[in-house]
Subunit: 466 residues, 2 copies
Amino acid sequence: MKNNIAAAKASLSHLDLEEKDTAIKAASRDFFWYSPVLKSRLDHVTADFVVRPRNEAEVIETLQNCYKHDVPVTTRGAGTGNYGQAMPLEGGCVMHLRHMAQIKEIHPGRVICEPGVLLKDLDAACRDHSAQEIRMFSSTWATATIGGFIAGGSGGVGSCTWGALRDLGNIIRLRVVTMEENPQILEFRGEELARVSHAYGTNGIITEIEMPLAPAYEWVEMFVATDDFMDAAGFAEELANEDGILIKLASVYEAPTAHRYFQRVQPYVDENTNLIGLMVAPHSMDGFHTFLERRPYAKLIYRNDDHNWARNPGPVFEYGWNHTTLRALKVDPKITYLQARYRYPDHLELIAQLRDRLYPEVLQHLEVMRENGKVMFAGLSLVQFTSEQRLDEIVKLHEDAGAMIFNPHRYTLEEGGRQTVDDRQLQFKRKADPKGLLNPGKMIAWDDPNWAYDRMYAHPKLQDAQ
Amino acid sequence: MKNNIAAAKASLSHLDLEEKDTAIKAASRDFFWYSPVLKSRLDHVTADFVVRPRNEAEVIETLQNCYKHDVPVTTRGAGTGNYGQAMPLEGGCVMHLRHMAQIKEIHPGRVICEPGVLLKDLDAACRDHSAQEIRMFSSTWATATIGGFIAGGSGGVGSCTWGALRDLGNIIRLRVVTMEENPQILEFRGEELARVSHAYGTNGIITEIEMPLAPAYEWVEMFVATDDFMDAAGFAEELANEDGILIKLASVYEAPTAHRYFQRVQPYVDENTNLIGLMVAPHSMDGFHTFLERRPYAKLIYRNDDHNWARNPGPVFEYGWNHTTLRALKVDPKITYLQARYRYPDHLELIAQLRDRLYPEVLQHLEVMRENGKVMFAGLSLVQFTSEQRLDEIVKLHEDAGAMIFNPHRYTLEEGGRQTVDDRQLQFKRKADPKGLLNPGKMIAWDDPNWAYDRMYAHPKLQDAQ
């Protein structure tokens, strides 16, 4: 199968087509560079051209023409994912959905929109309309799109209350276009959502989204400091277990993360300060203060609505989730990270154990999540990178101890996920992308059903470095 | 201390004072008659007069004059409590707060109101104002007041999401008037709230309330049927553990409760049907259907927005919480009940064990609650009443097995609660009610600090039966 880039481009020349090399290069990159492993593998990867459809009809036209000419299509939003989700491994077409940013309907408890709308803009519209907001968002809220979040994300700010994006009820409906000779338009609800949510656009393109909403409040953003790390972790967990106190974020940063990497926080903490980042509903602040006063070990050092800090630290959620790693990377380019899940009920024990073995090579960064109704932790640990081999050892050490690792140093769905085929995604890809042109190289099960997961998967058709 | 009823009445004659015997008798009764034990003890109890203050100044005037003349004051809302909370054991004055029903301010996430407003009216106002509603309410929503709920309730519809009323954050602020020579007006927040919430008005009168709000939705009300009781309990628990599905109610009724006692449900169930009553947010219905389809043992037999039942069964929450007992009592006057707490993580096991020992003398009625972040059950079991002795045996059997019983066949705070003094309430009563005139006989610790809880407490000054 030999693709015909020139013919595909020609057939799409009436669309918003990007042909400038620098712009194509820029649109071919996501935040894969968080990982030194992915950076060494994917830094050269680039699309042949970029198309920016204005509506669903143009998405269909793009898919149809690329299908005809056997051109791979990798779809992206803002490209803030850090598993290399949006890297066009075989080149071809990058389809950028930035123009598809319409918010179509807002109702009590739900919104209908196109995939390219920024999370920030979606929240602003829902707030203006009826004091609502999306239940959860990635820390890249200001720049990321809702479509990218659904296709490439798993949870974030708000998951301490609402659980993960894939949990029942956190996506209502997705409208999906297939890549066939005659693309189909499908509406997915319920069990069908799992086919395409967090599938990196490997088996269909999301053109419309219906999401649940929560009430929007003027969240009070705070930093709380403790001397002891496990006190900080306990504080975050116990707060999340207070059923009457509504929170949107509870992050825990092991010392010296705050002092070393959080520049505007640095004057107010020291090397030994463990930090907790919080978002609490304003009408829960009385309850929060009572909770705080019961824990004399914890000191409230900042709240966004009442502080005398010389420089405003900005949104507290921009210290949490993947922004923690981003801030650390800016100060120390040798930092990388892991994504872990420490499950109820052994989560605190497991974290203590891993800390004993790995501090200070690994610094704990925890995010409170709910899973199956229980408060537990996502871990986005900061890792001092020395070698790929050592990184693999650290991953294995976590797994052997009982933590689940979503390895962010891998670019396939399986390796970045649960290391098994998601059969619902694979089955749907067989129907929706018979030529295997959608975001190729990201689903091992498609390429090599017998892959043994004994080493890092290397996509055989990965673009050669120049 | 000899009280002077006549002098107190005379001093209050310019207020809305009730002196008609039948009206006084009516205003002296709450729902104590749910319990055959309380019925035998309290049926004759009646106040000497009833006063209905129009505002806080009149509350103060009432308390001041009754203090002067040593007249007990028992404060009530709608009188829908069923622990005898509002029964004036020593006679004297019943202070009825029905005129104090002003809703003062509504803000995002909170409302400020007077105690006498009906829960129903409070919700209507918050909904009209900004699509909000109170987080939780008793099943007597249509007739009960917010002040009565706070002074005499512990949770209800909404507690499956928000926990109990006493949990941090579920009451924001209470304004309280004391019964002293010169009554004080106090504002309580945080830890101070525990002094007067669920204190039956024994140590101060609540004159203003600030409560948190949740978004108001057009809740979809449903009945789901199962053949097996433990399937029904598991269904309710698992649904409540779905972090992305927003619910307001999950009740479980053991067969044959629905068939025997729920008249409008009866044609659609049989003797062996276990029933689940649900309120689910409309935007969570897709998630709910997915959840339901995964459980083929569960059949959706009714939803309020789409059914062909001959007679509308009314609000589903009016089958839950204390309304279950009420419905059973209407059919079978020999029915009474218990209030239990089955705590995480042994709740299901404990319920199964009690069922094995007590069916059919005791029929299980469970309400999903959250406690310390975990889904568990409140039990409001239906009991075939035979004798007080047998009822006490059943209570003991529950306690020995590990269930916590809030005995609804007792009229004191301690016996209906955790069977220990709430020292915060007692300490505050010493300051706020030095003569012990507020709702006398309801706080054992005040009357008899050395009470051993070895038998039912009998208030020595309980009014004699005529």
